[in-house]
């Protein structure tokens, strides 16, 4: 078949400059692949995670109860408002590794493993039901601990009694918080095994699915209160807590639902940016193509081509780029979606079922892949082909007939610098639309870069602020509580420890004038003059004395219960005890969630617990936590001493480890943000390189003149590189200005996605100046290649250029 000559030209043009063609194809492919990756992965994650989550009938409510028999679950399930209820026994213990290291393990007992109706699990390997002296291990825990079916593990209860269990099955439970994130293993054992381990055979948690409005938080909590008031407490069992499973989730939502939504939102922003930048590179490269071929356009017109034919040729050229970009983007996007889906599956503990490219995502990619480059290229093509034949053939390359506007007149007044520098400065502003495009790309990159750093700094500042609430070397929880004097005496016996404090905790509710109860909040009793906390007060004052009816709440609580204000008189209820308090202060947020602080004496009066503490905090040098090694040593001794004293078998934590757990999660998000900022910087650099190349191409004859009048290589290089640096510097200024609104917005989105809270924003001056350094390097490197090309031109060929 005979190919029309126009098509031959199009194909040869593409082939004649492979690096330029590859740049356009690659930039289209990257943008479209990003769209495919993000949309498809979002779809796969939501399809598989949420379907697997819903398939196992998730508990909408957990009611924590003092020991009860499984029959109580049947009674609660008989309520009209309850669809189903299931009894669970949970027990915290330690799992001893082969190398003698311990891990926390949450052991669960179900009443009937043959008929699991809520939070159903799947068997990956081995048995579905734990036999006597056997344990089913959740697969994430098994992977992290290196366990397989048939292995034997040692479970230690109360830091004293050790029991050897055989791993009989590896199960998959999508409802628990994975060990990779929360550092606690999970296993199922039978009630017989629990009894064999010396524990009483009772249950302590009810998992509930409500009959109606299972997603309505208030309704679900009301059903919990009804179950407590009508069935559980009348039957003689004490309810210690009613909670929605997850981390601030709505009932029935996956525990990380809000974080997933936030993360997908961040990825969507990245996708839009990627498409935008692809668009920019297409515009830039097609502009370069048009500039380079403007004379050819003139020739085409002189031999009879009408404008639509010429424009059609270049549009066809772009369309070929688009199709080639799509051919790469579709599988690349699918590969990206596969990676992201498996990354999420590993992180959130679900199975990816099918990796496919649904028509909706493919259509979206194809539509954007064809429309975006065509629309982006339309402007340079239409404006390039509009040029009259005479100008295209005889005028192009002079570039001196631009209108002299006020800005040029202003620039012409700058005379005290040397001529090459003046030339660089004036050259920068000669093609304003091109300059604006380059500035927009680099400004966006700069704003995102500074925003990423500001997000990191805001998180770090928040973590730093939390240090005010954790002014200790080590802390140890004392399950069930212990006598304050005993605890403090034991703690003070640890060599080096000069301060020990006992804190108490309870769960309570606010009761209003109509006797309505709020949701539950954690109440902390501590010495009013505690030296292991240095609260950052947002309003009011800290607790002012022992036994005063005062409370201090944190900003999280105010967010959850906006009617709480300084001076509010509130009634708190713990169990059957009620007392009136005055709110005297509001502290900053500190990642613990909602908290009510009161003096230990007030706490005793409210709860009726005499001199009992639940947590001990120790420090060697009050006000100055030690190094991680010092903290670790103190924690080890605290743990040993309390174990030996029979006070606690829990694992002591250090202030350093507390922060490390947070920063590990932050770092994943920040790494993605930094990669995004890096990509933007690279793309911005490519954009600047393209712009500088076009500028040099357009001014080839001027460079010839410069050479003819004696400009050496260094002078030509200087003219070009200084122009690149001026553009960089301008983009930095605009980037800095743009970062003022962009940085807090990004920080707010990211922090809310991670922490479900709004934190104070901190602008990163370090990021601002680091970007200045980067953008100057980009300016130099982006202009070096065109500059060297210009410096290599010989005077004769340059002056012949027409």
């Amino acid at each position: 078949m005979m190919l029309p000559t126009r098509w031959v030209k199009i194909i040869k043009d593409i082939w004649s400059n492979p690096s330029r063609s590859l740049l356009v194809i690659a930039s289209i492919a990257v943008g479209i692949a990003a769209v495919g990756m993000i949309n498809n992965a979002g779809r796969i994650i939501q399809r598989d995670l949420y379907s697997q989550y819903a398939a196992g009938n998730p508990a909408r409510l957990n009611i924590y109860i003092s020991g009860f028999p499984k029959e109580l679950a049947k009674s609660v399930a008989g309520m009209r408002e309850v669809a189903d209820a299931q009894a669970v026994r949970t027990l915290s213990a330690s799992l001893i590794h082969s190398d003698e290291k311990k891990s926390d393990i949450n052991m669960n007992v179900l009443a009937d493993y043959q008929d699991v109706r809520i939070n159903r699990y799947n068997v990956d390997e081995g048995a579905a039901v734990p036999g006597i002296r056997e344990i089913l291990i959740e697969r994430i825990s098994a992977r992290k601990l290196g366990l397989k079916v048939g292995d034997q593990v040692i479970v230690e209860i109360d830091n004293q009694r050790q029991y050897k269990l055989t791993v009989s099955g590896i199960i998959h439970n999508v409802y628990i918080l994975p060990m990779t994130i929360f550092n606690e293993a999970f296993g199922y054992i039978s009630m017989e095994t629990l009894e064999w381990m010396g524990e009483m055979p009772y249950y302590n948690r009810l998992d509930i699915v409500t009959a109606a409005n299972p997603g309505d938080k208030d309704h679900v909590l009301n059903v919990g209160a009804l179950a407590r008031d009508r069935v559980i407490e009348p039957a003689g069992y004490q309810v210690s807590g009613i909670a929605i499973p997850g981390i601030g989730s709505s009932p029935g939502d996956h525990w990380a639902h809000d974080q997933i939504v936030g993360f997908v939102l961040i990825l969507q922003i990245m996708g839009v940016l990627a498409v935008f930048l692809s668009c920019g590179i297409v515009i830039n490269t097609v502009s370069a193509l048009i500039v380079q071929q403007i004379k050819q356009i003139g020739i085409l017109r002189s031999v009879g081509a009408v404008r639509s034919q010429v424009a059609g040729m270049y549009m066809a050229n772009v369309l070929i780029f688009s199709v080639l970009g799509l051919i790469i983007a579709l599988p690349l996007g699918l590969a990206g979606a596969t990676w992201l889906s498996y990354f999420a599956a590993n992180f959130l503990n679900f199975d990816v079922t099918i990796i496919d490219l649904p028509p909706s995502v493919a259509f979206l990619q194809i539509a954007i892949g064809l429309i975006m480059p065509t629309c982006a290229a339309a402007f340079p093509i239409l404006s390039g082909t509009r040029i009259p034949v005479y100008n295209a053939i005889y005028q192009y390359g002079l570039g001196t007939r631009n209108k002299v506007g006020w800005f040029e007149k202003l620039l012409s007044k700058i005379r005290s610098i040397n001529p090459p520098l003046t030339l660089s400065l004036r050259n920068t502003f000669r093609k304003k639309s091109r300059l604006i495009f380059t500035l927009v790309t680099l400004t966006l990159a700069g704003a995102m870069f500074i925003a990423s750093f500001s997000t990191r700094d805001s998180l770090n500042a928040q973590i730093k602020q939390i240090e005010h609430y954790t002014v200790f070397d080590a802390s140890l929880s004392i399950p069930g509580g212990a006598n304050r004097s005993t605890v403090l005496r034991e703690a003070m016996r640890i060599p080096g420890v000069t301060l020990a404090e006992g804190w108490s905790e309870a769960v309570g509710v606010f009761v209003d004038a109509s006797n309505n109860e709020s949701e539950e909040f954690v109440i902390v009793g501590l010495p009013y003059n505690s030296r292991t906390i240095d609260p950052v007060m947002q309003q009011g004052t800290w607790l002012q004395g022992a036994g005063l009816p005062q409370i201090v709440v944190n900003a999280d609580l105010v967010q959850a219960k906006p009617d709480i204000k300084i001076g509010s008189k509130v009634t708190l209820k713990v169990g059957d005890h009620k007392r009136l308090f005055e709110v005297v202060g509001i502290t900053s947020k500190h990642l613990y969630g909602s908290r009510i602080y009161m003096d230990s004496d007030s706490f005793t009066r409210l709860t009726g617990r005499q001199n009992q503490v639940d947590v001990v905090r120790v420090i060697a040098q009050p006000g100055k936590p030690g190094t991680p090694a010092v903290q670790e040593a103190i924690a080890q001794q605290l743990q040993e001493r309390f174990k030996n004293a029979g006070l606690s078998t829990a694992i002591a934590s250090t202030q350093h480890n507390f922060f490390k757990n947070f920063t590990d999660i932050f770092n994943i998000i920040l790494m993605i943000l930094m990669i995004m900022a890096g990509i933007l910087a690279v793309v911005g650099g490519l954009g600047l390189t393209g712009t500088m190349s076009i500028n040099i191409l357009e001014r080839t004859r001027e460079i010839g003149v410069l050479r003819a009048v004696g400009a050496a290589n260094a002078a030509v290089l200087q003219v070009v590189v200084v122009e690149g640096l001026v553009v960089s510097l301008l983009s930095w200024i605009f980037g800095a200005l743009a970062s003022v609104p962009v940085a807090p917005a990004l920080a707010a989105v990211v922090i809310y996605a991670i922490l479900e809270t709004r934190l104070n924003f901190r602008y990163s001056v370090e990021g601002l100046f680091l970007w200045l350094a980067i953008v100057l390097v980009i300016g130099v490197f982006s202009s070096l290649t065109p500059a060297y090309r210009a410096a290599r031109l010989r005077v004769r060929e340059v002056l012949d250029y027409e």
Partner: protein, 232 residues
């Protein structure tokens, strides 16, 4: 053979009536042509001579429709070229006018044969199946068939100019307009190009040639001299 601009051909193929062209530059207005009236008949071989800046290139650009007059009328084959829009002029040029430039202006990525086929492809005057055969015949006419599949950059200036002439003939236009066709060639190549033009005139083509070479100009059947934008 000097002309005062009156018609010497069989009938008026090209007519310029009181044509003026003024270029507006930052340095001020420059009148390239000043009230030129001219008729050229079919089958003439016309040389336009003059000093640099006299307006000869402007004259040929107005005839080819590459540039527009500031005032006056330009008729080519009865077509009022001065009234045509840019796109209409391109289509019209594709069928009626072959243009040969001093610097050949061949498309560098296309072979010589493809360069010659390009105007046919743009005009759709000949069926696509005939393009290659016809282009090859034109290359044979300019004695370039052996170089048909080479890129322009592989040819000497003289051969490139022959290729440009073949391209100008692609759609069999009645007029060939050429601006300094030998300006970039050695004497031998220039001679062969002029012979080619003479052959084309013998075949009935009208040739309009701008040149500063008075010896070559004398080879034309008619000579028009321009000075300061006027025919003298």
């Amino acid at each position: 053979m000097k002309s005062n601009g009156n018609n010497h051909g069989n009938h008026q193929l090209i007519e310029l009536k009181d044509v003026t062209k003024v270029y507006h530059t930052p340095a001020g207005d420059f009148t390239a042509l000043n009230g030129v009236t001219l008729s050229i008949g079919s089958g003439e071989f016309v040389s336009i001579v003059g000093k640099s800046g006299s307006g000869k290139t402007t004259l040929i650009n107005l005839v080819t429709g590459i540039d527009d007059p500031t005032s006056g009328e330009v008729y080519v084959g009865g077509t009022p070229v001065h009234t045509l829009k840019e796109g209409e002029k391109a289509s019209w040029r594709g069928s009626n006018m072959g243009v040969v430039f001093q610097f050949f202006q061949l498309l560098p990525t296309l072979t010589v044969l493809e360069n010659v086929m390009l105007p046919m492809d743009l005009s759709s005057r000949f069926p696509i199946s005939e393009h290659a055969e016809r282009a090859m015949a034109l290359l044979e006419l300019v004695d370039l068939a052996d170089h048909a599949h080479q890129l322009p950059s592989m040819l000497s200036g003289g051969l490139q100019q022959r290729a440009a002439i073949a391209r100008a003939l692609a759609n069999d236009p009645p007029i060939i307009a050429t601006d300094e066709p030998t300006g970039n060639l050695d004497t031998k190549s220039a001679e062969s190009v002029i012979k080619l033009f003479e052959n084309l005139v013998d075949q009935g083509k009208t040739i309009l040639m701008v040149t500063h070479d008075s010896d070559l100009a004398k080879r034309a059947s008619r000579l028009i001299e321009i000075a300061d934008g006027k025919i003298v």
